[in-house]
Amino acid sequence: MELAAASALAKFIGAGLACLGMGLAAIGVGNIFGNFLSGALRNPSAADGQFGRAFIGAALAEGLGIFCFVVALVLLFVV
């Protein structure tokens, strides 16, 4: 195989692999909101006060997935 075709192939494979990280970040975000909801249903009066914290955690977990997305985009459009 020529070098250019091989590097294009590797680029697409790399972008696809980077998308796995976005799925893993989804597990993390789901964990946070699932646990927040189960805690909120046990003690609804305390739920409002912890709302912001749930979102901070979700934002931090989601940010890592976004890094994977940016890596995929960089591989596809920049490199």
């Binding site: 006060g49 912001g52 979102f55 901070i56 979700a58 934002a59 931090l60 989601e62 940010g63 976004i66 890094f67 997305f69 940016v70 985009l73 459009f77």
Partner: protein
């Protein structure tokens, strides 16, 4: 660039020069990005100025909107930083209103999402970190750097902990800007891709009966994008509050 018939989701983020301006060798053209930033500022200014103009006891629609926005940001800020954080309220409030307006205006079909460009969000994140650093050093002097020295750590572990804390502080502007940028970019690309599926299926003869399926998904994604547009503005604001809290109450 893209051949006809292929999906080109990146095209919508292209910056076009509306009024070419060249100042001292720098390209300072008025672009579509600048135009939508001006619109975002104008919309927020109009809502807040007209909303707070009448000051009636029973608020009208516009006044309730302005009051709700004020109370929402004020509650977020005091919830994280306490009462003393309110001196940063104008900064945090204008940050939230601008990011929120820019995200929402980006949902208008055919408009331009300024926050889907890393240069815009990176400028915001650097502004936030600069404010945090200046406020921390002015308010607490060298005590501010206690932020990087966790207490109750054994001595041999301390250099590594300081290193980790410094790296985590330095990566804050990067993650803050990438989060907003990535979310807006990903959402708009997904919308465009599903819209292109509808168009491609309609042009594919008998397969056109499947066209409502991606259309339904595109409608659901649009609703999700409105949620994300608000949520990312909120997340940007609350993380700004958390970082400001470090500047106001440093030390572990």
């Amino acid at each position: 660039m893209a051949q006809p018939g292929t999906i080109d989701p990146i095209h919508q983020f292209e910056i076009q020069k509306l009024v070419p301006i060249n100042l001292f060798g720098f390209d300072m053209s008025f672009t579509n990005s600048a135009l939508w930033m001006v619109i975002a500022v104008a919309v927020t200014t109009l809502v807040m100025v007209y909303g707070s103009a009448s000051r009636s006891i029973v608020p009208g629609r516009l006044q309730s909107l302005a009051e709700m926005a004020y109370e929402f940001v004020a509650n977020t800020l005091t919830g994280v930083t306490g009462r003393e954080g309110m001196k940063f309220f104008p900064f945090v409030f204008s940050l939230f209103m601008f990011v929120f307006a820019a995200n929402m205006l980006g949902m208008i079909p055919g408009s331009f999402t300024t926050t889907s460009h890393i240069i815009v969000t990176a400028a915001f994140a650097m502004l936030v970190i600069t404010v945090v650093l200046v406020a921390g050093i002015v308010g607490h002097g060298s005590h501010f750097f206690g932020l990087f020295v966790p207490s109750g750590v054994p001595g041999w572990l301390l250099p590594f902990m300081v290193l980790i804390e410094v790296v985590s502080f330095v990566s804050r502007p990067i993650s803050l800007s990438l989060r907003l940028f990535g979310n807006m970019l990903a959402g708009h690309i997904a919308l465009k891709v599903f819209g292109a599926f509808v168009a491609a299926l309609l042009g594919a003869g008998a397969a056109g009966i499947l066209a409502p399926l991606p259309l339904l998904l595109a409608v659901a994604l649009t609703a999700l994008e409105f949620l994300v547009a608000f949520l990312q503005a909120y997340v940007f604001t609350i993380l700004t509050c958390v970082y400001l809290n470090d500047a106001l109450h440093p030390g572990h």
